[in-house]
Symmetry: C2
Subunit: 193 residues, 2 copies
DNA sequence: ACCTGAACACCGTTCAAGT
DNA sequence: ACCTGAACACCGTTCAAGT
């Protein structure tokens, strides 16, 4: 699938990550699956953390294009709630990638940092658009988007840890909590009936 | 400090956890710090995960007593916002313990499960009390408390990952987001001016 | 009942050497 | 420029043997 060694290493790492988290990503097995020796990965990545950061950056970019498809159609169908549901669905479907993207890194990692920044910018813009259309109350869009993302992330993690229903059978699901928040946010908006 | 080997092992594990996360908790070093051989921990814990779960359960219990001190004084001063701020402060002060408590475990772990349940019950009760005092709108207390906890957890994790300010200088802090949520929640409450 | 110490099958990372 | 293969200092876990 991968045209070069570097991509093959990232592919293998992503595969191993999904099966058992960062612990399952051993550079030796990564090299094995990419068809190189165990020393080879170190010619492409400084260490294991750098390889994981490359996986996270790639996943964050892929998520970005997925989410822009939600807002794209027509250019005006900017339903932020649908975007958040799509985001939650991605996180629940790929728990390890989600956790990796929001992991605490031991040092700043170039590629991942810029991917995270552009993802944040996208969310802030979508939030501002929702405010313009009256879906959300007037407030600092940076701060309001942080509230939305914090809730979504927290809800997903509670669900992943088993403290919430993933699908809404019986107990509340992450999607339910997102809807609840949008409900509470709608009320204070002045002049929207 | 510890009177028996089992407690000494948990103490050592907690110490190592704080310094470098679960990866830093090696059973060999735990044994070393507890003054026993490397095989000894296996007489007290099935494996590394069981030891970590014991650490998490102990921390969750300690957190519970900390939080009950916030609501205790007078028995009527049940300010849920203050409770949430205390919770956030704990999480920011002990990131690794916070992450461990909400980690995804490979199997159900007795001791941790019951500690988590009683912590949840406490939060739900505090939420219901806040509803009775008019601080929060009428809604299923289970679901409303999940909303609060999801936001707090998500905000803390965003802060720990560097996507939020930990102390509110410049960008929003977790405490700011908690306050924002309480603000949005107050509005829809009927009959409270 | 609890502990020791060797053993097995792994790791991340480094480095001389090859092409 | 990229890769190999051995080497070093670690792991988690098991198990016979001791007290």
């Amino acid at each position: 699938m991968a045209t070069n060694t570097r991509d093959a290493l990232i592919d293998a790492a992503a595969r191993l990550l999904d099966t058992g988290g960062p612990v399952a990503v051993t550079l030796r097995e990564v090299g094995r699956q990419a068809g190189v020796s165990r020393g080879a990965p170190y010619k492409h990545f400084a260490d294991k953390e750098a390889l994981l950061a490359a996986v996270a950056a790639r996943e964050l970019a892929a998520l970005g294009t997925q989410l822009s498809e939600v807002t794209a159609p027509g250019g005006r169908h900017n339903d932020l709630r649908a975007l958040m549901h799509r985001y939650v669905a991605w996180a629940l479907a790929h728990p390890e990638r989600f956790r990796l993207v929001f992991a605490a890194w031991s040092r700043p990692l170039e590629e991942l940092g810029s991917a995270a920044n552009s993802a944040r910018a996208r969310l802030v813009e979508a939030t501002a658009a929702a405010q313009r259309s009256g879906q959300l109350p007037a407030a600092d869009p940076e701060r309001l988007s942080a509230l939305l993302q914090a809730l979504a992330n927290g809800a997903v993690e509670l669900a992943l840890a088993g403290h919430l229903s993933p699908d809404g059978k019986g107990r509340a699901s992450p999607d339910d909590l997102v809807d609840d928040l949008f409900g509470y946010l709608r009320a204070p908006a002045a002049g929207t009936q």
